[in-house]
């Protein structure tokens, strides 16, 4: 039996099945967590998957933030538990202030459904270990509100403290400028994914779970899922170690 990893299902989630499969492929046991439940069934990590939780009414992710399961996820995160938000899951984490910044409407005003390249900024986090820094990874994005925003001071702090873990890059691995087609949504400083200061909560807009097998067109996302599974296994084996980066 592998490590147990929760996948939250909100009304409107639509990447939960893909996430479940990606977790299975990485050798872990996915546990589906319904949005109305107030406990996490003892899982060692939680993934908030993509979709349109609660229809994305008001602002993407904000209604989900106040659901019973998010109270449990917030408590889990505050105790050092591993939480990864993908796409809509990232928006939920940002609205819950569990990761810094906000996701604005795409600068193009268009829904971005396309292949992108991202590269890990660092390989010493619990979400990126095993990845090669700067190597372009191909995977899809599918969102209307993915333009990463934080004020300049917050962005500077993030860069200094290693809070940026993924950036949109071109084919050569160079970070994409705001108007570069390689940056699908106009994200400031081409930020595609961030981690919180404690190192246990991360979010990214692209979909690694949709790029975990060659038949899907790319398996570049598998390393990100694997990093989460390995970190969860470590957390499960040594509860005392939870909270260390």
């Amino acid at each position: 039996m592998g490590v147990r990893i929760g996948v939250v299902v909100f009304p409107g989630s639509n990447c939960d099945r893909d996430t479940v499969r990606a977790i299975e492929l990485a050798g872990a046991d996915p546990v589906v967590l319904w949005h109305e439940q107030a406990t996490l069934d003892g899982v060692s990590a939680v993934v908030l998957p993509g979709g349109f939780a609660y229809g994305d009414y008001l602002r993407a992710g904000v209604i989900a933030r106040f659901s019973p399961v998010m109270r449990a996820v917030t408590a889990f995160a505050n105790e050092g538990g591993l939480v990864l938000g993908i796409c809509n899951g990232f928006q939920v984490l940002a609205e819950a202030h569990l990761v810094p910044g906000a996701l604005l409407r795409n600068a193009s005003l268009r829904f971005a459904g396309q292949q992108v390249r991202i590269a890990a900024e660092r390989a010493d986090t619990r979400f990126t270990h095993g990845l090669e820094v700067g190597r372009p990874l191909r995977m899809p994005v599918a969102h209307g509100e993915g333009c990463y925003f934080a004020d300049e001071a917050t962005l500077d702090d993030l860069e200094r403290d290693g809070g940026v873990i993924f950036r949109y890059v071109d084919a050569d691995g160079r970070p994409a400028g705001p108007d570069d087609p390689a940056n699908p949504n106009g994200s400031l400083r081409a930020i595609a994914g961030v981690v919180n200061a404690a190192g246990n909560v991360a979010g990214l807009m692209p979909h690694p779970e949709r790029a975990t097998e060659a038949i899907l067109g790319s398996d570049d996302g598998a390393g990100i899922v694997r990093a989460l599974v390995e970190s969860a296994a470590r957390a499960a084996n040594g509860r005392a170690a939870v909270g260390a980066r």
Binding site: L58, G101, L104, A107, L109, A150
Partner: protein
Amino acid sequence: MTSFRFAVNVLPKPGILDPQGRAVEGSLGHLSIEGVSAVRVGRRVELTVDAADEAAAAAVVDRLASELLSNPLIESFAVEELGATSSVVATKAN
């Protein structure tokens, strides 16, 4: 208890990219309208609050506006008091 009617107007903060506002500006040429600029698109939420007095109702609205209706990182809000209303009207409005 009295029912109080409020409106909360939410707008993107100055300096925050507002592609919707830009799209509206972009369409002005099609209407042959000139001299319009700085368009910002936000949202307006109207609601009724039952409370002992207006100050208590306003406090509820303020919390709702800052925690749910707006994201303080990117949006500002302004509350308009639309006055007391009978609870019968409020029920119908719901």
